[in-house]
């Protein structure tokens, strides 16, 4: 396979000590504060090439003053205040950390929020699969990962059962602790299996955690020592943030908790670790990662209401002569740096054919016509790629295509926009106008979120000609413009995220005054009664559990007091578009359309448990987008001019398996509309779209030559092809997956989209035959039309051979065209 690059691959199992050039310990400097403080250390050896290896377990650990602290392996336990050093020695190398200890003699009783909830998280008691589930488990509810310790405390000290849809307590309130006889507390007896426990044995009666809990109950089960003054956990920091390791390697994590008073504590042994993909790497209770196979994943770290993550890259053999890869813009800097770290070599630059086809499909949703392809391929202009990009961005096809894309995301359909084609068309035209004038995206967002009156942008508030429930309306705006899915928090605190039900309803309250009178959308003033046949005048939003009136509040909990007769959504729109989330969600969504996956994937599912593959790249793209006044065309040009975008789809030995690091162009199926337009273009037979009826009973049709991407909504015009290939009805925000199905296979073999076109007497084949073109010319022309490339000489010969064996020239050529249209190379963008 001459196309595949070969690399010199070094054996990894180097004799220990021979090649390492330095040893460092982590953390290098640390302060241990408070009684019972401990600190885990790591020893990291580095070789001449800069590759790191965790040698914590193999090192000799020594503490400079054993009177102040003791070492258990590489874990230091403070006994008295003072300073000391911790030294690791490994094969002749040494690393050293400086440690200060303070407050070791200050007594601190065990508190609920700190020690007890930490045990719940660490032991998995409050995981979503157990008591942290939406409804709890076995009648006992804990908040997932101790997000709501006050609630947890109540269920434990007062007892009773949680109910999802109401604030009422289910069953009798029997405390789960027994202050008189602490050892009889259900809270201990259950996990220790002294009383039958559905979750099995979770706690040994002689364990440290058991002792901590019983000590807490004996002390009267306090909520928290010095409540109110106690420092709050602010965040979790993970070292290393990205662990790169060879297959079968091991590497430890350090987790540091930062508190509101500035002090830090080692939480390495007090958090719950989970691997997002245990095929790639597993992690044990002490935060030691074991690599399983080449790939990438994240380790999630949970402690008391906080989630952090560490990236894990399991890399292949080290490449000795890793090539220098040219960089075209800032995107490449981030992408290629990570690839080098992961020892993945990006594919070469795409050929002109590959690039032209890809960029035409991605920017304009259409294949380049053969004439244009020939010109481009023949041109010697060194700037021809940029010129074609500029031409595409300025083309009418660009406007058609991106109007179609946003009509999908913004949900243009008769059913979603007031049950009238007048409304859906107006909304569509608003989108088209925004695309055509390249209106800054923040303006578009603000207008949509705060739309009112009879304006076209307000039509999206009218599914089935009704204003949707405030929660749903809000969740959709947040998903579209923040890339976050709050829906789960509608009925309960979000199971994985820091979104509470209160936050959900606070945000929803911005939409609670939204009403319509006839076709006019307005915000009901709170100081007037507009009750009528159409408007029920109930403008208060009640919290579904507490039944209290909910006031508008932003996600950051800051309340807003909108004017009684104003539009509260204006303030919300201004706030949302000023948040970093807004630009990040926008660039990620657009990026996803060019690379078949988002930096956060799915593109509208940002969560702390779904970390981005390239966080710095995401931030840089968002910054650039803000810096250019939310200019979508600038963003798209930046993306397509990067070398990352322009890499070939042809894999090499190092990147064949990679699907998340943009080391090559990933083939993706054309979406239904684009594929149908491509079939029409290649065959030269346009599609006709009958009006809103199934085949055979047409009452009208779209104007001749209408392209599938130009159809305004999915309900007006029927197309069997589009149905089979998964056109969205836009009843929900579309998630196109391009997955093949049986109907597609049947249609390809027997369907009229293909059979009808091949038989047409006005198509490309008929015209070429009439012009007297030779077989070679016809084959070449179709290759250019369908694949933007000429056949390789061998390919061409094989095709001509089959043709001549087949006999019946025209029939043979039709079969050839069928094959071309049925090929994966045609059906995919690559």
């Amino acid at each position: 396979m001459k196309l595949l690059l070969t690399f010199l691959i070094l054996p990894l199992a180097v004799a220990a000590g021979e090649r390492f050039v330095s040893l460092k310990t982590a953390p290098a400097e640390v302060v241990l504060s408070g009684p019972r403080a401990t600190q885990q250390f790591l020893a990291i050896a580095t070789d001449a090439a800069g590759t790191e290896r965790d040698v914590t377990g193999e090192s000799q650990w020594v503490v400079s003053n054993p009177a102040l602290a003791s070492l258990d392996g590489a874990r230091l336990k403070a006994a008295a205040d003072g300073r000391l050093t911790v030294t690791a020695a490994y094969s002749g190398l040494k690393g050293q950390s400086n440690v200060r200890m303070e407050g070791t003699q200050v007594p601190r009783p065990v508190g609920f929020t700190r020690e007890i909830t930490a045990i719940f998280t660490k032991r998995g008691c409050n995981s979503t699969a157990c008591h942290g589930g939406v409804k709890g488990r076995g009648g006992f509810k804990l908040s997932n990962n101790a997000l709501y310790p006050k609630d947890d405390y109540e269920w434990i000290v007062k007892g009773g059962g949680y109910q999802v849809l109401t604030n009422e307590v289910k069953g009798e309130r029997i405390p789960r602790i027994d202050l008189k006889h602490p050892e009889n507390s259900l809270l201990l007896r259950k996990p220790a299996m002294q009383t039958p426990h559905g979750g099995g044995k979770r706690l040994e009666a002689d364990s440290e955690d058991y002792r901590t809990m019983i000590e807490w109950i004996r002390a009267g089960a306090p909520y928290g020592a010095g409540q109110g003054t106690q420092p709050r956990l602010v965040n979790l920091e993970v070292y290393p943030p990205m662990a790169v390791m060879p297959d079968a390697g091991r590497r430890g994590l350090l987790v540091t908790a930062r508190f509101s008073d500035g002090h830090t504590e080692d939480f390495t042994h007090q958090v719950l670790y989970t691997s997002n993909d245990s095929e790639v790497a597993t992690v044990n209770a002490d935060g030691i990662i074991s690599a399983r196979r080449k790939g990438e994943t994240a380790i999630l770290i949970r402690a008391a209401g906080h989630v952090a993550s560490a990236g894990v890259g399991v890399i292949g053999p080290v490449i000795a002569d890793y090539p220098a890869v040219p960089r075209a813009n800032f995107i490449d800097g981030y992408v290629f740096a990570k690839l080098k770290k992961f020892q993945i070599v990006p594919s070469g630059l795409s050929s002109d054919s590959e690039f032209l086809r890809r960029v035409c499909l991605d920017l304009a949703g259409a294949l380049p016509p053969p004439k244009r392809a020939r010109q481009f391929l023949a041109s010697k202009d060194p700037n021809k790629r940029e010129k074609v990009v500029d031409a595409l961005i300025a083309s009418p096809e660009f406007v058609d295509y991106w109007t179609f894309r946003f009509a999908d995301i913004f949900r243009v359909s008769i059913f979603s926009n007031g049950l009238s084609s007048k409304f859906s068309e107006g909304y569509w035209e608003w989108i088209r106008n925004n695309v055509e004038t390249n209106r800054p995206y923040d303006e578009v967002a603000r207008e949509r979120i705060s739309a009112e009156g009879y304006s076209p942008a307000s039509r999206h508030f009218l599914p089935y000609n009704q204003i949707g429930p405030p929660g749903e309306v809000m969740a959709e705006e947040v998903r579209v413009f923040f890339g976050r899915r709050l829906d789960c928090a509608q009925c309960h605190n979000h199971p994985y995220e820091n979104w509470s039900q209160d936050q959900f309803w606070g945000m929803a309250a911005f939409f609670s005054r939204l009403f319509k009178m006839g076709p006019v959308v307005f915000d009901h003033p709170t100081n007037m009664d507009l009750s009528s046949k159409d408007v029920d005048g109930k403008i208060e939003l009640l919290h579904p559990r507490t039944k209290a009136v909910v006031k508008p509040a932003l996600l950051d909990h800051s309340p807003l007091e909108p004017a009684p007769d104003g539009n509260p959504r204006k303030a919300l729109a201004a706030w949302m578009t000023a948040q970093p989330y807004f630009a990040e969600a926008a660039v990620n969504r657009i990026w996803g359309l060019f690379f078949a996956r988002g930096i956060v994937e799915p593109v509208d599912d940002f969560r702390s448990t779904n970390p981005p593959t390239h966080p710095e790249l995401l931030a840089a793209l968002a910054k650039d987008f803000r810096g250019h006044h939310y200019d979508l065309r600038h963003l798209m040009k930046t993306i397509v001019m990067s070398r990352t975008y322009q890499l070939s789809y042809v894999p090499n030995a190092t990147n064949r398996e990679d699907v998340v690091n943009y080391s090559r162009s990933l083939p993706r199926a054309l979406d239904a509309e684009v594929l149908l337009d491509a079939v029409a273009d290649v065959t030269g037979v346009p599609e006709t779209f009958p009006t809103a009826v199934t085949e055979g009973s047409s009452v009208g049709q779209a104007p001749e030559g209408t392209r599938a991407v130009q159809l305004r909504d999915p309900d007006t015009f029927f197309s069997r092809f589009l149905e089979i290939y998964g056109r969205s009805n836009r009843g929900a925000i579309p998630e196109r997956n391009g997955k093949p199905n049986l109907s597609q296979a049947l249609h390809m073999l027997a369907g009229d989209t293909y059979a009808g076109r091949l038989g047409a007497n006005n198509g490309r084949l008929a015209r070429l035959l009439a012009s007297g073109a030779s077989d070679t010319e016809i084959v070449d022309e179709f290759y250019l039309a369908a694949l933007s490339r000429l056949p390789a000489p061998g390919e061409r010969n094989e095709i001509l051979n089959i043709l001549s064996r087949r006999g019946g020239r025209e029939a043979g050529l039709k079969e050839f065209v069928w094959a071309l249209l049925s090929s994966r190379e045609f059906a995919e963008n690559h």
Binding site: L165, D487, G726, K739, P740
Partner: protein, 435 residues
């Protein structure tokens, strides 16, 4: 290259016996992997879809506020409306539920609820009941496992509710045209006449050349899947039994008349043929355009237009299944998306009523000759034994041997109950209904 390329070449180049053998064994494997509890009697479902919502008090739950008289049936103690005389003579084959209590006061909402068990949520699309059953049961005999006939002429919106959503395209229903129309044929199930055997072979030869280079470089799971679907498609196109299952010309004129030669009748006849051949879930949706939506002239509509075909076709379907020995294995559900208001409106019509309504079940291990639940004196509210949509689903799942307590994960990790009942609970099988 990899194994799938080898099999693909075999498939495209070998004689038909070779690749048919290959795919059939695939089916057998799929069938073997599909664990259906031994106790389960039913292996397929026919949903007789009464779009628009029949008036319960004018059909299966007669009341004094109906203008139609109750009549005796062949089961002592059960009376139904005089509009359903044929059914009355066969009441021993049916079970009625008179205490359905569901959500959705307008057609789209209620239809979505009836077909998926969930209320509409713009944040996600839910898989239909039929898709879940198709996934759980697996295909039989190369016949499309999930079929809907006829598909809607005007709007695709309802059709979308019957789809598989995130479960994937392979569990979408195959939606076919009205089988009562002249020249009815299922598209894409037979090769165009212009495509000869020679053409098939030369297409394959060309495709091998065109795709060789690209596929050598890019082998993806999607390609493998598409190859599997292509093999299945060839199998269907070349297997006479599959085409036959859709071919109503194989039925006698007498049989066609027994079901009724309209859309209602012929779609049920087709459903029977498909189930006989191997389909798992067939929706017979002959009542299109919200037929049962009698906001005006309710009585006239029910008497002249709606109840007679229901009476004729439902009875014929159940009798025919029984005669063929298929009734034990085929569960028939006849229902709409809601009932109709017990009070008559100024247009002499009845409006939408999800509070309390009725449906009919037969076959598939359902204990027949009984009524479950009851409504109050005028049919406004459930008087005894509320049955939710989730309870109905759970009953059908249990009859099929499917674990009704199952939850499936949506792409964002939200667990979706397959038998979603009121107040976010899991439905319970109606034990009286299960023999």
């Amino acid at each position: 290259m990899g194994p799938h390329r080898t099999s693909r070449r075999d498939f495209l180049n070998a004689g038909s016996a070779g690749f048919l053998g290959l795919t059939l064994s695939g089916y057998l494997r799929a069938a073997a992997n599909n664990k259906v509890a031994e106790k389960a009697k039913a292996n397929s479902v026919i949903l007789f879809w009464l779009e628009g919502g029949p008036s319960h008090i004018d059909t299966w739950d007669p009341k004094p506020n109906s203008n139609f008289k109750p009549i005796l049936t062949n089961v002592a103690g059960i009376r139904i409306s005089e509009l359903l005389p044929k059914m009355a003579r066969r009441m021993d084959k049916f079970a009625l539920v008179r205490s359905m209590h569901t959500r959705g006061t307008d057609h789209p909402q209620a239809t979505h609820y009836a077909i998926t068990g969930h209320e509409i949520n713009p944040a996600m699309q839910f898989p239909s009941f039929g898709s879940i059953i198709t996934k759980e049961m697996g295909p039989r005999n190369a016949v499309p496992p999930y079929v809907l006939a006829p598909k809607w002429d005007r709007s695709r919106q309802y059709e979308d509710y019957f789809r598989a959503a995130f479960l994937g395209g392979e569990y979408d229903p195959m939606c076919i045209p009205d089988p009562s129309r002249p020249g009815f044929a299922v598209t894409d199930l037979s090769l165009p006449k212009s495509v000869s055997k020679m053409a098939v072979e030369s297409r394959s030869a060309f495709l091998n050349v065109v795709d060789k280079h690209y596929r050598a470089l890019n082998e993806t799971a999607e390609h493998t899947n598409m190859d599997a679907y292509s093999a299945q498609a060839w199998n269907m196109i070349l297997t006479p039994a599959v085409r036959d299952a859709f071919d109503l010309s194989k039925e006698s004129e007498k049989m066609k008349e027994r079901y009724g030669k309209d859309s209602v009748g012929q779609s049920c006849l087709l459903a029977r043929r498909l189930v006989e051949a191997g389909s798992r879930f067939v929706t017979a949706a002959g009542y299109h355009g919200n037929s049962w939506d009698t906001h005006s002239d309710n009585d006239k509509g029910h008497r002249d237009r709606l109840a007679p075909p229901l009476d004729r076709t439902l009875t014929a379907l159940v009798e025919d299944l029984d005669e063929r020995g298929l009734l034990d294995t085929t569960l028939v559900v006849a229902m709409g998306e809601f009932g109709r208001t017990p009070a008559i409106n100024p247009n002499l019509g009845r409006d939408h009523w999800p509070n309390c309504w009725s449906l009919a079940l037969a076959g598939g291990g359902i204990k027949a000759g009984q009524v479950v639940g009851s409504s109050d004196d005028h049919g406004y509210n459930v008087a005894e034994r509320v049955v939710s949509m989730g309870d109905l689903y759970a009953t059908v799942y249990k009859a099929l041997g499917v674990d009704w307590t199952k939850e499936i994960m949506s792409p964002i990790g939200r667990p979706i109950k397959i038998a979603n009942s009121l107040g976010d609970t899991t439905g319970e099988p109606v034990k009286e209904l299960l023999a």
